[in-house]
Amino acid sequence: MAEVSVTKDAAPAADELVALKNVNKHFGALHVLQDIDLTIDRGEVVVVIGPSGSGKSTLCRAINRLETVESGSITIDGKPLPQEGKELARLRADVGMVFQSFNLFAHKTVLENVMLGQVKVRKVEKAAAEEKARALLDRVGVGTQADKYPAQLSGGQQQRVAIARALAMDPKVMLFDEPTSALDPEMINEVLEVMQQLARDGMTMVVVTHEMGFARSAANRVVFMADGRIVEQATPDEFFSNPRSDRAKDFLSKILHH
């Protein structure tokens, strides 16, 4: 796990890892992504926030082509997303994804969940894969649950296993699609702590979330989306203390005062 060694204090090398240019997508009549331009640098933590239905999740899922887009280009590490097929599968292995509903493989144990991608996709030896899986499970604090099935774990534990499963592939970038939205309140922190540690370790992250605390403490940049558009981008301090757009002001006034 020593692959990620860049710390956040070191000035992030300003090279683009993920770049979306002029991306558009419709769901029927709904224009869910409208002319989206977004670049994410290596080592950067970008938090995407916004009201429901603003297209944040779709944006996140479009980055590894779980959602196809109609126009515009998406590149990862300089390579445009290929069509569905072996090449896309290879590229997806480099992009970790964490889902709102965990999506751990229900018929596999926790350990098998974290080993599967390494063995079947990366063709790592079983013993090496198991060693790495156990180390990752320890790192996210569920090492003792390795031989259980996902259904036997709490939501917070399941989500941490899902993070370990994604990390096992040594991804270049991690996508988090509302990772804490399906969790009971007391389990949110255990997941956020793992994510915060990951951010400190220099992982490139795109996080769609409603956790403003996480956005404040871990993000390099906040992207605010509404009605399929990126309305505002700023550092967390700037965004939360001094939002420029009315839409963002309105949104923040609704979520910060209760």
Partner: protein, 215 residues
């Protein structure tokens, strides 16, 4: 009463014939059915179209018609030297594969979409996702309808008996031609079919039970 004892070897031959026809056709139907179900949910449009055509064509054609095609058209046009067992297995197997495919597809649809998305997001190909993630979880839902399908297949193999194959149905025809009491013949034939279908029933119930425990 002597029908059975007098013709024991004939009955045995017919029973084994039905077993072989059922077993071979079931194997063909199972393998093809899973592949076709995979085609029907594949991201590649030509495969999806092929899968849909296969199911539509075979599921909506009377089996007897398929047999007529297999025994009178296929040898004339394509392969003149296939033996009648192989032709019968193809007809029954292809026909049943359409039903298997639909049962498997319904099983695939019960597996939450997130499972496949998670598999794809760690870089698994479509085939890997199907084989390692989706199909194993679909099995449990597919087993009960498969049992019905294979019981239906057992009875459908009787048509092969009318097409130059020695099976239970064929034996009943031979014996009634020999002048034995048709009611008694049917009694024994029915019993023989019951043994096969009941065995299938038991096998699948066992399978269902095993899969339940595995959860």
């Amino acid at each position: 009463m002597n029908v059975l004892l007098d013709n024991l070897s004939l009955f045995r031959e017919g029973f084994i014939g039905t077993l072989e026809l059922t077993g071979a056709s079931a194997l063909v139907a199972m393998v093809l059915g899973v592949i076709i179900a995979g085609f029907r949910v594949s991201p590649v449009p030509p495969l999806r179209i092929f899968g849909t055509l296969w199911v539509t064509l075979l599921r909506n054609t009377p089996l007897t018609l398929l047999f007529l095609v297999a025994f009178f058209v296929v040898p004339k046009v394509l392969f003149p030297d296939l033996d009648s067992f192989l032709l019968a297995v193809c007809a029954c197997g292809f026909y049943t594969s359409a039903f298997v495919a639909e049962a498997v597809r319904s099983g695939i649809n019960t597996v939450p979409l997130g499972q496949a998305e998670a598999a794809r997001s760690i870089g698994m190909t479509f085939t890997q996702t199907m084989r390692m993630i989706v199909l194993p979880q679909a099995t449990r839902t597919v087993v009960p309808p498969l049992s019905s399908i294979f019981i239906a297949l057992t009875k459908n193999t009787a048509i092969a008996g009318a097409f130059n194959n020695v099976d239970l149905f064929n034996v009943s025809k031979t014996l009634s031609n020999d002048g034995y009491d048709i009611a008694v013949i049917f009694l024994w034939i029915t019993l023989a079919y019951l043994i096969v279908t009941y065995a299938i029933n038991g096998l699948f119930r066992l399978l269902e039970h095993r899969l339940e425990v595995a959860r």
